[in-house]
């Protein structure tokens, strides 16, 4: 291939390429190129969100489980892409059986030309599954988690997706979820609730009626993760337009920016009011809450609507996290249930209030609101029941939780044989003991080299 030659296509317009062979056909083909480009850029950004999830989940948990969480994130992305190719896409966008389930295009058969759309949807699908990995961190068996991921990506999520985006019954009803507050986030969060219910809290989290603090080990990494997620979210929302619509896209980008910003501001202020301290990790969650909140209505609400949605999401989040943690005693290390579940519901319902067309506050009456409620309820019900059954099945052979001993020594050593940090200078192989305690010294000693001539 002589790149130089090909290049001239875009430099000198001598256009010897196949794509633009005939100028008369150019306009449709140009539009195809433009839209394709937009969707591909969005695909890259949504892919990159996995780095964000991985960093948030790693930073918000303990260092002894960091490798394990990273592996979960990589494997979720990888399994997600492959399974969505094999099965998920067909169920989601294949020919519909009564608006319930798609039934063709497995392995993209007879849909080869959908490939750009497929790859965008594939990175979306993995997102849904990865939400769970944060909530079940530090105690779920890797194998069980992977089996749950398989059920999410290959079945549970594509069904929901079919209902809403694949022309299924919720789409017919008029349910609005532009980029997935419900389809992606609430589905993931519901799966997370089920998994956390069945798993129980981490050792030492709830004891003698007390709720203990198990803080994350690297909040700056988590904060970077939030920035990456926010960055990727522009692709998540604006890519869902599927075309480079010069009116719609800037609107979506702006509502996304403003809602997230409002979420940051309200969670910062509200946490300050509530705890007399501006809680840093909750404010990071607040940014994500604002993003999840706007996802459903990003193309349908005004800039003021977006500000309001984000603002409320930030406050809801500050209320939801301690409530889930202390009252419901659902041990969710990264706050996934509050961020993706509570704010996902809020965002979906908010469309019924703020949609410029059909929203209650814009004179649209209650019908859209009712539809939005229906959608939320249906998705929760479906996901809850099926993921409950799936997990019960997965638990049959040997349970879904690591042994207490493995949990104490950390999943990094028990599942991966080494540890995440400074194995040459800090935390080598946790054995039968506490987190990194004492390992600093131990491992630096274990790995000291014999003295060298030069300095002896």
């Amino acid at each position: 291939m002589k790149k130089k030659i090909v290049l001239s296509a875009f430099l000198f317009s001598s256009l010897p390429t196949v794509t633009f062979a005939a100028e008369t056909e150019s306009i449709p083909s140009i539009i195809q190129s433009i839209d394709m480009m937009w969707v591909m850029v969005a695909t890259f950004l949504v892919f990159f969100m996995h780095a964000g999830f991985a960093m948030v989940e790693t930073g918000f948990t303990r260092s002894k489980n960091a490798l394990n969480i990273l592996m979960k994130n990589f494997l979720t992305m990888a399994l997600g892409a492959v399974l969505y190719f094999a099965i998920g896409y067909g169920i989601m966008f294949g020919d519909s059986i009564s608006g319930i389930i798609g039934s063709s295009h497995f392995f993209l058969l007879n849909a080869e030309s959908d490939i750009g759309f497929f790859v965008f949807q594939a990175v979306f699908a993995a997102t849904c599954a990865t939400i769970i990995s944060g909530a079940v961190a530090e105690r779920m068996k890797l194998s069980s988690y992977l089996l749950l991921t398989v059920s999410m990506v290959a079945f549970i999520y594509p069904i929901v997706g079919h209902w809403v985006w694949g022309g299924g019954w919720l789409a017919e009803l008029g349910f609005i979820d532009f980029a997935g507050s419900t389809v992606v986030h609430l589905t993931g969060a519901t799966g997370a609730i089920v998994a956390v219910l069945l798993l129980g809290g981490r050792l030492g989290k709830y004891g003698d009626g007390r709720v203990n603090v198990i803080p994350g080990h690297n909040i700056p990494l988590g904060a970077l993760g939030v920035f990456i997620l926010w960055f990727g979210w522009f692709g998540f929302n604006a890519g869902s337009s599927l075309s480079a619509d010069s009116e719609l896209v800037p609107m979506v980008v702006s509502t996304t920016l403003l809602s997230a910003s409002a979420g940051v501001i309200s969670s910062a202020i509200y946490s300050y009011m509530k705890f007399k301290q501006m809680d840093a990790t909750l404010t990071l969650n607040g940014a994500l809450g604002g993003l999840v909140g706007i996802t459903a209505g990003t193309a349908n609400v005004s800039l003021f609507g977006a500000l309001f949605i984000g603002f409320v999401a930030g406050i809801l989040l500050i209320e939801a996290v301690p409530f889930i943690d202390q009252k419901l005693k659902l041990d969710d290390p990264v706050g996934a249930i509050a961020v993706h579940g509570i704010c996902g519901i809020w965002g979906t319902i908010a469309v019924g209030l703020f949609a410029l067309e059909g929203g209650l506050f814009y004179g649209g009456g209650l019908s859209l609101l009712a539809i939005q409620f229906t959608g939320v309820a249906a998705v929760i019900l479906w996901t809850f029941v099926i993921s409950f059954m799936a997990l019960k099945l997965i638990a049959l052979p040997a349970g879904i939780r690591v042994t207490a001993e493995e949990e104490i020594q950390g999943l990094d050593f028990s599942e991966h044989g080494s540890t995440a940090y400074d194995t040459k200078g800090e935390s080598f192989g946790p054995a039968n003991s506490q987190p990194t305690f004492g390992y600093g010294l131990v491992n630096r000693l274990n790995s000291l080299e014999a003295p060298q001539k030069q300095n002896s």
């Binding site: 044989g417 080598f428 054995a431 039968n432 003991s433 305690f437 004492g438 010294l441 131990v442």
Partner: protein
């Protein structure tokens, strides 16, 4: 006045602290340590290379106490920190000539706590 140095497993520390409080010992100083003894070594694997840990993490709890508390303290430490597995650690007892409280400058037994 005796100095008690207990080399224990890190995970037994909180329990020991609580038990010591119960017998009135609330002044103590703790150090991070690494130990090597008869305890069986742990194995790991990194990029396909197996490796062995030659040292185990330990904690040293150091407290200076009145002679009268000596027996009871030893008892409490053994109770709180023994798991029956090799590697539980040791207690060293030695003599202390004097103790000063930095804040006030007072010394002797009234400086201990």
């Amino acid at each position: 006045m005796k100095k008690i140095e207990a080399i224990i497993r890190p995970e037994q520390f909180q329990q020991l602290r609580i038990k010591l409080l119960e017998i009135g010992i609330d002044g103590l100083t703790v150090y991070e340590a690494a130990g090597c003894g008869k305890q069986r070594k742990k194995q790991g694997v990194f990029r396909g290379n197996p490796f062995e840990l030659q040292l185990e993490p330990k904690v040293k709890v150091e407290m200076v106490i009145r002679k009268s508390l000596y027996e009871q303290t030893i008892q409490v430490i053994i109770e709180a920190c023994s798991t029956g597995q090799v590697g539980d650690g040791k207690i060293f007892v030695s003599d202390v000539e004097d103790v000063y409280r930095i804040r006030t400058g007072e010394n002797g037994t009234q400086a201990i706590i």
